[in-house]
Structures are given as C-alpha cells and as structure tokens.
C-alpha cells in the first residue's frame, strides 16, 4: 500500500455549546488542509461519517462547492476507520491522489438509546431494557475476568491511566487525573463497571488529508505512511453487543480477525509496534482488546499493566491521548481521533505525552456496534 497521511486536523473533543457537529467538522477539515498545505479545491475525493451530527457530504456548503465526489459512511464507532479505508482504496485504485476523510459528532448527554428495529431486533428488546451497550460491556468483562482469573481492580488502573494521559492532552475532554480509589468507588453503572470506567457520548471532529505515496513525497520530506487498514464483521459464535442470544460455542471476535489481517498485510508484527490506540469504550474493553489485537495472551494483561508496560514510557504505550475514556465518544470522530494521535506521535509532536525514542510504528483499533472492528498500521 502506498498511501500517506499528509494532513491532520481536529476540533477538540468534549462539549462545545453553540457549535454544531458539522461546524466542528468544518474546523477540523480546514485544519487538516492547512496542515497538508493544500486547498479544498485541490481535493479530488472526500468521505466522512457522523451518527447524530448530520450528513458529511453537506460539509461542501461550508468548505466550497467544488463538485468533488463525497461519500457518506456509517459503521458505528468504526465509522472513522471505514472513512479512512474508503479513501485509501480510492488512492490505491488510482481514482484520486488527494483525499479527505472526516468524522464528527455531537451527541446528547447520557447513554446511547439505539432503536432495536434498526438492527433487526423486535421492539420488545428495547422496551424491556436490554438494548444498552453499557450492559454488553459489563457482561463481557464480567465473563472475561472470570475466565482468565483477572482481578477487578485492573479496571480502575486502566481508567486512571486514561485520565492521566488525558490531562497531558490539550484536546481531551477529561483533563483531571482521578485516583484508582475514586474511580473504583464511583457510582456503579453496569457491574463491574463504574461511572469513571466508561467513556461518555460527546462531541468532536477529526479530518485527515490523504495522498498517494508519490504525491506525498512531493509535498513532505518524511510523511506518515498508511501500511494497512482492515475491517471485519462478526462471525457465528462471537459475543457481540445487541445479541438476544449467543451460540453455545465461542468464536474469535472481529477484532482478532481484523488485527491479524492488518498485521499480516503490513508484514509487521505486534512486537514491532511502538504506540497503540485501542478501543476503550470502557476500561474492560482496553484489557480485552490488548489480547484480541495480539499484543499479549489472554490473562497476561495483569502483569503488563502492573509493570507499567502500557504507560507512556513503557514498552507498549496504549491510548496515549487518554483514549475514549478521557476524550469521550463522538461516534463518527472516534476512529479518526486514534489516527490523529498516532500521526502526532510518529511526527514527534505530542508534547507532554510524547512517546520517547522516536516511535516508528503505530497501531490503532476500533470496535463498533453491532460487532465489527477495524485496525490500521501507520509507519514513519
């Protein structure tokens, strides 16, 4: 794959009263174009998505009516990664050599309330109170801790890291460190997960400018290269959100397949990765996804976390910008936030949260409802 990320832009995550999700997307896109040193009129293809912020293709009203092709994508929390994949495919197919991928959102406060019929379930599933992503995450980590003999105290450790890293990130929503004690003693939301172990639906926008390797070489001396991007949906037997039933036998999650194929396509192994952003919808998700993405065996997370391996400065820093827990989850923007952070880290521009030692390989992973995952590898 010869695709580069030549520009990044972000509207800070959190709450921005008086500013729509679309307006935040315009800010992010203009930032990304400026970062790349190009104009909107130079863009040959654009792709974007948002769950509740409006249609991405309407951004042309503000960015300029240049006639460019613009595709809307929607894949839950994996929307941003899907946008990246579509843009990369267009470049690979030589249909365009300068593209924009954008993701944005603006959600109401409080847990998401999905419509059962939109995912093929009966109305009873919502009315009786089963259609909650929070319940799924509680039940998945409950079983995982049981199966792999992991202590529930690990959850607060993961959250505390997220808030610590978020405090170092000027674009993060949650910038106040919290102690493991305060996290563990906070009100329970879905046992064993407390309020501060979950990310919250929020607002924000991220845009990327992507170019063919050839065009990027003419623009920048050392661009960040996209080495692979892979998306997978679930198999029969995997344990997924919004499932009234599960098969009696367990299959690997879509994360396992997406990560495995992503590493294989790039010819890069998990041991080569210098920095990783992995979906931490809640603290347990980071723990489970560490293993599902191939960074350790199931059950080894306790030792790695206790030894500080996943901290900035550790051998495998994870969620260096504070992840979903500190940044919140604007669904459309979340996957591209990970890419933004990885580009910043590879460029060595992460300031107080910079991973030391000139990181060269960066991995990202998203997981979205109702059971799909996308992974990417960037190098510089």
């Amino acid at each position: 794959m010869s695709v580069a990320i030549v520009g990044i832009g972000m509207h800070r995550f959190g709450r921005t009263p008086g500013m729509s999700g679309r307006q935040q997307a315009v800010v992010a896109t203009r930032d990304a174009l400026a970062d790349a040193g190009v104009d909107w009129k130079d863009v040959q293809f654009a792709v974007g998505g948002s769950a509740s912020g409006g249609f991405a293709d309407t951004l042309v009203n503000e960015l300029g009516l240049t006639g460019t092709a613009f595709i809307n994508v929607s894949n839950g929390c994996a929307t941003g990664a899907s946008a990246l994949m579509v843009a990369a495919s267009m470049i690979e197919a030589e249909k365009a050599d300068l593209c924009v991928a954008v993701g944005f959102d603006k959600h109401e406060p409080g847990a998401f309330n999905a419509d059962p019929e939109s995912v093929g379930l009966g109305a009873w599933y919502g009315s009786t109170g089963l259609m909650l992503t929070t319940q799924f995450f509680g039940m998945k980590i409950q079983r995982y801790l049981h199966d792999h003999d992991l202590p529930v105290s690990l959850l607060a450790k993961v959250s505390a890291k997220a808030f610590r890293n978020g405090a170092l990130n000027p674009n993060a929503w949650r910038r106040t460190p919290l102690s493991e004690h305060d996290i563990a003693e906070a009100p329970m939301v879905s046992d064993p997960l407390t309020k501060y172990m979950f990310c919250s639906p929020g607002e924000g926008a991220v845009a990327l400018v992507m170019a063919s390797g050839k065009r990027a070489a003419a623009m920048q001396s050392n661009p960040v290269m996209l080495r692979s991007v892979v998306q997978r949906t679930r198999r029969y037997g995997s344990f997924e959100v919004f499932s009234p039933w599960l098969a009696p036998e367990r299959a690997d999650s879509p994360t396992v397949e997406a990560a495995g194929a992503c590493f294989e396509d790039a010819g890069i192994g998990p041991a080569d990765v210098d920095v990783a952003q992995i979906q931490d919808t809640e603290a347990g998700a980071e723990i489970m996804h560490m293993s599902e993405t191939g960074f350790c065996a199931a059950g080894e997370q306790e030792e790695l976390i206790m030894l500080g391996h996943t901290e900035i400065g550790g051998p495998l820093p994870i969620n260096t910008d504070g992840g979903c827990i500190a940044n919140g989850e604007p669904i459309g923007a979340s996957g591209l936030r990970q890419i933004y952070e990885n580009v910043v880290q590879l460029r060595g521009q992460a300031g107080a949260r910079q991973v030391p030692g000139n990181p060269r390989v960066a991995f990202s992973h998203v997981y979205g409802a109702p059971g799909l995952s996308a992974c990417t590898l960037l190098t510089r």
Partner: protein, 164 residues
C-alpha cells in the same frame, strides 16, 4: 455493601410459572413445549442444527433458509451477568420510578445462550454457574393500568425447585 444488589419483582414462591393473564411484551417470543408448558420460542436450522432466539427465518451459521420452531429448554446455567443501575432512555418503557435490574446470559443445555432479565431475591448476588429457570415477571405497567410481563430467569433453589 458498597453497591447494593437490585431488588427485582420476584414471583411469589410456589406460584405456577405458566404464562400469566397479564399482557406479555411480545407473544411471538413464546410457544408451548411437548408437554404443553409455555417456554421461549426459538428456531432450529433444518440443515446444520443451529438454534436461535428469537426464531428467525434463515440460519446465521450455514445461511440455510429452512428453520423450524424449536421450544427452548426452561433451565440452564448463568454464563455472565451485569446490573442495570440507571434508567435507560426510550424505547425502554419500564416504570418512571426506577429500580435497578439484573441482566445476564443463561446457557440453556448447550443449545443456545439467551439474554434475559434475572429475577433475583432482595440482596441476592448472582454467580456465574448458578442454575437458573425460566419465569415470567411483570416489568412495567401501561398508562391504562395493564401490567406487562416479560421473560426472566431466577436461580433454582431448594425452595422453588420442582415448582416450575
């Protein structure tokens, strides 16, 4: 206890666990087993034997399109659980005055794992591996005063064993 257990409507001990007269949330979820006892209505693939709940028209394992109605076992073991501690937004239509409720997956004889509310005794902490049985339990009341029931699972105890 720091995070108290939820109190959930518990059918009176000794009540027969037939479908009550109240309105059931979705009658398509139910059928009678070979003994004429009401149970959950699943479907079974004629080709590969995969079992689903609710019943569906095609098989998610082999993509076959011939599925037969399949009454699910009424007993199983608790596979995982959580407790819903805040009142969900719409389309949830439970009581405005919210009481936490437990939710879990119950492994029904290795045929299928069904997601369900758990009907717990006050202060009962569920445990993975608990033996569970199907019950029907009120979960809300319509504005015109009709009680709506749904399916749930409760732990099998010496006290209620054999009464369902």
């Amino acid at each position: 206890m720091r995070h108290p257990s939820p109190t959930v409507n518990q059918p009176a001990a000794g009540s027969r666990q037939q479908l009550p007269d109240d309105r059931f949330v979705d009658p398509d979820l139910l059928c009678e087993d070979d003994s004429g006892v009401t149970t959950l209505r699943g479907s079974r693939c004629n080709e590969c034997g995969a079992i689903t709940f609710p019943a569906q028209a095609s098989c998610p394992r082999c993509a076959g399109t011939h599925m037969s109605a399949h009454p699910l076992p009424r007993r199983g073991t608790l596979w995982t659980f959580t407790i819903q501690r805040f009142r969900p937004k719409s389309p949830y239509d439970g009581p405005i005055e919210f009481e936490p409720y437990a939710v879990g997956y119950v492994n029904l004889a290795d045929q299928v794992l069904v997601e369900a509310r758990l009907s717990l005794r006050p202060d009962q902490v569920p445990l993975i591996g608990d033996e569970m049985e199907l019950v029907f339990t009120p979960y809300t009341c319509t504005p015109d005063g009709v009680t709506v029931t749904t399916y749930a699972f409760r732990t099998v105890t010496d006290e209620n064993d054999g009464q369902s």
